[in-house]
């Protein structure tokens, strides 16, 4: 319930003003860090021995995401500070996962750091015993520099990195579900920025002018539809699993969400949405062929890029529309974790605290990659630089108000998510009512079976 309060005040983009944004980060600051006390250099702390592991070489199996590519440029600074040499491999997500799993299954001692998305592979990796819980380092005063303030992280986001009561990684990437809309199209038609799911459907109907512009576009493939659908699910009051870890996508709230998602996109979406993964869906929007998309705030990097987008300067960001059960849209993070089989765990930990400390986060934040530390959002340099306060307010507040991931928290996450995706695709193809329920019931039986097979104790 507490998670709803964040959404009760803002009623859409009209509140997404510079002042509103400044208020939001002001509140965040009061709750967290002491504003203005961000150290400028990591090595400034005298009583923390950064050079304890000088001479060590680390291997990091990472992604090629924006944060990693930005941070990669700072590696020489890390190596100079600590004397640790870092080999950082950057791979796209899927090849990275395959490689990581192969190496972890083979108990490769040569792998020290790996990139983990808690809501994707977190449960699987942790239960397989592949990850070192970071709690033991966090609670050891000699291993945490005094200026490393954990309370500076947005609490919802910090929670997303805790699985089975253990800290698997630290929130590094920041993505939240939000409403992305074409300011010009809404204005031209006199459509108010939707704040509820009802308003969203009405707005999509008004903006729908095929084949030129479709009312809305989102992900529609088996593997990816659940990612965008999950925010609808949560706002209708549904969930992937109930408290007893029983599949819940066949309950009435979930079915309402699925039916809504199907109807909304079938009526006002582009043809062939069941073949759209996120790159295709976002490109429909970037090409100016859709008026609204409800996806991650991270798409700003695409929509603002004149090389990839025809809608630069026309895109607005607002909170994900509220549903009957409030507003807890899906959020998503990923960050570095330490492999159980590493022989240099403590040195690997040094990289994590260096990469996640205030100055590093401020650096990436100023480079255009949203940070999870509130101090980065509060810094005068950032406030000065940010051209879109609405985007910043939406990101920061959603980060504060939700800790629900896009995916089900199960070991066999890909398999279960795909099974859910099959039901969503049926809804997108037009299945409704009892037949949709029957489909969801069948999926739930399969999901229970998959969980029984993969989560033996």
């Amino acid at each position: 319930m507490k998670e709803d309060t964040g959404m009760a005040t803002p009623s859409g983009a009209s509140h997404c003003t510079r002042r509103g944004f400044l208020r939001a980060i002001g509140r965040a600051g009061a709750a967290g860090l002491l504003a203005g006390s961000v150290p400028t250099r990591v090595g400034a702390t005298a009583d923390f021995n950064w050079r304890k592991h000088a001479g060590t070489t680390l291997r990091f199996l990472g992604w090629n995401d924006l944060w990693s590519m930005t941070m990669d440029k700072k590696v020489p600074e890390f190596e100079k500070l600590t004397g640790i040499k870092l080999h950082w491999e950057h791979l796209p997500q899927e090849p990275n996962r395959q490689k990581a799993q192969t190496e972890l299954t083979a108990k490769n001692k040569d792998l020290d750091l790996l990139w983990v998305a808690p809501h994707v592979e977190g449960v699987k990796y942790l239960r397989a015993g592949w990850l070192v819980p970071l709690d033991e380092y966090l609670s050891n005063a000699s291993l945490v520099p005094p200026d490393f303030d954990v309370t500076d992280f947005a609490p919802g986001f910090w929670q997303t990195c805790r699985i089975d009561g253990k800290q698997v990684t630290m929130p590094t990437l920041v993505e939240v579900a939000c409403l992305i809309y074409r300011k010009d199209l809404l204005e031209a038609k006199g459509v108010k920025v939707p704040t509820t799911l009802e308003e969203l459907e009405a707005a999509a109907a008004k903006l729908h002018e095929p084949p030129g512009v479709y009312g809305i576009v989102n992900r529609g493939t088996v593997a990816q539809a659940p990612v965008t659908w999950s925010s609808y699910l949560y706002n209708f009051g549904g969930s992937y699993l109930d408290r007893e870890r029983k599949c819940a996508i066949d309950r009435s709230e979930a079915l309402q969400a699925t039916e809504y998602y199907g109807r909304l996109h079938r009526q006002y979406g582009p043809p062939g949405m069941t073949s759209l993964n996120w790159p295709e869906a976002s490109s429909v929007f970037a090409q100016g062929r859709a008026a609204v998309e409800t996806d991650t705030n991270g798409f700003r990097n695409i929509f603002d890029d004149p090389q990839k987008s025809k809608v630069v300067g026309k895109v607005g960001y607002a909170f994900f529309p509220r549903g009957p059960a409030g507003n807890t849209p899906g959020v998503w993070t990923a960050g570095p974790s330490i492999s159980t089989y590493s022989e240099k765990k403590e040195a690997a930990w040094y990289f994590i605290i260096w990469a996640l400390n205030g100055p590093s986060q401020l650096y990436t934040h100023l480079s255009g990659v949203a940070a999870s530390r509130r101090s980065a959002w509060q810094s005068p340099a950032y406030r000065e630089k940010e051209k879109d306060p609405a985007w910043a307010e939406v990101t920061l507040k959603t980060m504060e108000m939700s800790s629900r991931g896009y995916s089900p928290e199960v070991v066999a996450v890909g398999e279960v998510r795909n099974r859910v995706g099959e039901v969503i695709v049926k809804a997108l193809e037009g299945l409704t009512g009892d037949r949709l329920k029957a489909e969801a019931d069948k999926a739930c039986k399969d999901i229970q079976r998959i969980m029984a097979r993969t989560e033996k104790t």
Partner: protein, 317 residues
């Protein structure tokens, strides 16, 4: 089988006779067991890369093994196969989709390939150039082709729908529609491999004896009769070979489908190979995945055996 080694031995003996007496006396291993030693490297390689993996796969298929965990494989006997036949609803559907895809793809490739072969068989200027240019699709990388076709089929931005609307036809959802996805994928396969079939058939046509055609002409047979009663029966063995190649490839098709639809929408294009891959390498149910892949081997074997039989029947007839 019995004839093979003995024949090798018989051929090897005269060579041994020619050797100097000293060496023959010692009777080197090479002289005594050439039929065992010469093929040994190939046999070893074959064991390592074919027999061992197959047997290991068979063993894995008898275990329950969730590889994305610390758990070890657990021997479960035939449980995976029992589940395959009695419990799994996806399995028969995947076989159905595989056969449907194969029928559409190979059927159209043979028909089109035959037509093209008959054209290419005639003498004309630049024949060699046309034949080589014709082979280009077959030489291209399937993944690259798949990515290009994804763009062509794109429901809103694709050139195919654009063309359809320009000539006044309704745009289609191609890969995004359950009913259309397999025919759309078969079309890509046809585009890529028809030239291959045509080329095999051109070779078959070139190797035909001329006499039957001459005598048919003397007897006053029309072109259709010549084609139906002479060309086609003579070409039958070649047709079966071309079909065999394509059928085997189509039954185990993977790359284009994986790149273009990942088996979607829903499961509408999840063929048996894709299902096996996904089960073993995406979901990490390695044991069950192994049993699925063995069923695919069995399916390929049965269909190929039927085709080979067809060819033999043709020969004896």
């Amino acid at each position: 089988m019995r004839r093979g080694p003995a024949a090798v031995g018989a051929r090897a003996r005269p060579a041994a006779v020619l050797r100097p007496a000293t060496r023959a006396g010692r009777g080197g291993l090479l002289d005594r067991y050439p039929h065992l030693i010469f093929p040994a490297p190939s046999v070893a390689a074959l064991l390592a890369v074919m027999v061992f993996p197959s047997l290991f796969n068979l063993y894995i298929s008898l275990t329950e093994w969730f590889a994305a965990s610390a758990a070890r494989p657990e021997f479960v006997g035939l449980a995976n196969y029992v589940r395959l036949v009695t419990e799994d609803e996806v399995f028969p559907a995947a076989i159905g989709r595989t056969l449907y895809f194969t029928l559409l793809a190979v059927g159209s490739q043979i028909l089109l390939g035959l037509g093209i072969a008959l054209v290419l068989h005639r003498e004309f200027r630049g024949q060699a150039l046309v034949r080589s240019a014709f082979l280009l699709p077959t030489m291209a990388t399937p993944t690259a082709i798949a990515l290009v076709w994804v763009l062509i089929y794109h429901p809103t931005l694709g050139v195919l729908n654009y063309t359809l609307t320009v000539v006044g036809l309704a745009p289609q959802e191609w890969l995004a529609r359950s009913q259309l996805v397999i025919p759309s994928l078969a079309l890509v396969d046809t585009w890529q491999y028809t030239p291959f079939v045509a080329l095999v058939l051109v070779a078959g046509l070139a190797a035909m004896p001329l006499e039957p055609f001459e005598s048919a002409r003397v007897d006053g047979a029309g072109p259709w009769q010549v084609f139906w009663y002479i060309t086609l029966p003579l070409l039958r063995p070649t047709l079966v070979v071309a079909a065999l190649f394509r059928v085997i490839d189509s039954l185990k098709v993977f790359d284009t489908i994986y790149v273009m639809t990942q088996g979607g929408p829903g499961r509408a294009s999840e063929t048996l190979n894709l299902y096996a891959f996904r089960t073993a390498f995406e979901y990490f149910h390695v044991g069950y995945g192994a049993s699925l892949s063995l069923s695919l081997v069995l399916l390929v074997f049965l269909v190929s055996a039927a085709l080979v039989r067809l060819r033999r029947a043709g020969e004896s007839g």
